[in-house]
Symmetry: C2
Subunit: 353 residues, 2 copies
């Protein structure tokens, strides 16, 4: 793969460009009436100066939200709309510079402002590079429910400079790698082997990101409105989300990717049971996930609590729990109803691993 | 035209059905998990019982907003989302039963709730039947600006029963007819002649509505995102909106259509000037509009105030005023920059007519 790649998605391009020259060019060609950059308090400090410098920006408006998922709310969006009013019209563009929280809320804010103004994502975390910034989902939390308000709306383009990853805490990088592992498992053996081979090689991170994005676009471009194929991207997330909520409840919050890695182990275990595969069918993947992502600690009595989160997952259809299962690498299955007893078994399996 | 027509738009169908049997059928086929009906305080009283009766609804949730454009706000939408949360999921459907205010805010509310749930319009005013309920624009006002937040999102279907018009004040009917007049002028001589012929015939109102909707869909289906062809629908609205705002400011608010009728007279006058047509080129249309819609009263000194509204119209591109002009019936022109002196002249012409 080239070091200066452009991925052509169905709806927009993704530019890999360390010095963001292509963004500079894009803005020049766009002939926008005004340019607004949205950051959180971290990216305002660590990333905005770089972007302004690389793109040689003279005139722009800067909007900033406090860092943290808890600010991805309708109130924050309202605050942004108020600030957008005096500095923008239908020909303005919003650049979302940050992690998934910023690309989600920025995308939402732009997509309904004056019935939609252009927006661009410049993701600054590994997770947002390979996940939130591609696929066209935008959203904010509402009344304590995640992503209850949102749109399906594509950015005009995505620009990726891995230089931004340098300011990222180690845990955040590891968290992003868990979503990469998910993409690899879903994409098949070849991608998985490549993923394992490169896992610790920092000089191949761009290639890894590119592979992950190509895979995600392959899925989402065919299922823009999340009606079919795209559901597979929830692999690891039914149990993962429950573990994440449980950790939040017990005041030991963990990065999203750690929960997903644990969720994948459980859902691989369940896959073996439901598809009558030998117990060690996914052994290599399970051991790799166990060895490379921090273990989530819970005791047997706490499993009931985790199960109650699984039972109330918003991805359930009515009361039916349908985690994404795998028949083999690259072969997801999205229509098996799983019972809570088996989910419990999988959590015990993970706990004792 | 048949008395029981269905118009097939590109994105949805419009059913003409006095007893709403087709809505009953549609809901049965839709297999929705829950049914929510949005009304305002007027339509809750005058229209909801009829809809419930005709469709033989046993289980539904009812949401209600106070009547009046001033409640078409983000706050109202937030209130609706809070009420939707406990009674709906992604497979729910929202029925918007009311005028343009209800179809606009209901469409917006549904289009971003859980990234979009299905919604259906059952317009109850003449204006909303021929205008707001078709074309796929949704929106709420924000920070005192009209429709600042919104989406382009199509209803699953539109159901029209002219029985609802029976509860409508006379002024509201006349207001709707002004938008019909606009469609007729834009559609060409044949439609205009038909419009004039049927203007006062109450027994042909369904045919008139059908003609107006077919025309609007012809335009909007080709320009979903308001980038080109659709702009012609602003005919009469540059000056019309200014007159509407002026009347609001002077505490003598008028129905939207009255302002549009006056705006059309002014913009026909300007068309004659800019396209070097003889002064009586649009005489028939101007006299008809003058004779059939209430005159808006303002004196010469107030014209400056009206002009300031024209100058700040959100449809302007930068400082350029571009009302839709007509070269002849059915031949709109959307790219002439008009100077304020001519706008002033047109307002004086209208005043002395």
């Amino acid at each position: 793969m080239s070091r200066f790649a452009v991925i052509k998605g169905k709806f927009h391009r993704v530019f890999f460009d360390e010095k963001l020259k292509s963004l500079k060019q894009f803005l020049r060609n766009g002939n926008y009436s005004s340019l607004i950059i949205l950051t959180d308090s971290n990216t305002k400090r660590h990333c905005l100066p770089k972007l302004v410098d690389y793109c040689n920006l003279k005139t722009y408006h800067s909007l900033c939200l406090p860092a943290g998922e808890e600010f991805k709310t309708l109130d924050s969006a309202e605050n942004l709309w108020e600030q957008l009013l005096p500095v923008s019209d239908r020909k303005s563009v919003l650049i979302n510079l940050g992690g998934g929280m910023i690309t989600d809320i920025g995308g939402f804010t732009a997509s309904v402002f004056k019935r939609g103004i252009d927006f661009i994502h410049v993701p600054t975390t590994l997770l947002s590079m390979i996940d939130a910034s591609v696929g066209g989902k935008t959203g904010v939390d509402f009344a304590n429910y995640k992503n209850q308000l949102g749109t399906f709306c594509q950015p005009k383009a995505v620009f990726i400079s891995t230089e931004f990853l340098n300011s990222l805490p180690h845990d955040e990088l590891v968290s992003g790698k868990a979503e990469m592992a998910k993409h690899a498992v879903l994409n098949g053996l070849e991608t998985w082997n490549e993923f394992v081979l490169n896992f610790n090689k920092t000089d191949s991170v761009k290639d890894q990101i590119e592979t992950a994005i190509r895979f995600k676009l392959k899925i989402t471009d065919k299922d823009l409105f999340d009606q079919g194929k795209r559901i597979q991207l929830n692999f690891g997330h039914t149990i993962g989300h429950a573990l994440e909520s449980f950790c939040l409840l017990t005041k030991k919050p963990i990065p999203h990717g750690f929960a997903v890695a644990a969720g994948m182990i459980c859902e691989l275990f369940i896959s073996c049971k439901y598809f009558k595969l030998s117990e060690d069918f996914f052994n290599e993947q399970i051991i790799f996930l166990k060895n490379n992502f921090p273990k989530i600690i819970f005791n047997e009595t706490e499993i009931e609590e985790i199960l109650s989160f699984v039972a109330s997952d918003k991805k359930n259809i009515g009361t039916k729990i349908k985690p994404v299962l795998l028949k083999r690498l690259g072969k997801p299955h999205m229509d098996k109803v799983v019972d809570l007893v088996t989910v419990k078994e999988s959590l015990n399996y993970y706990r004792l691993l």
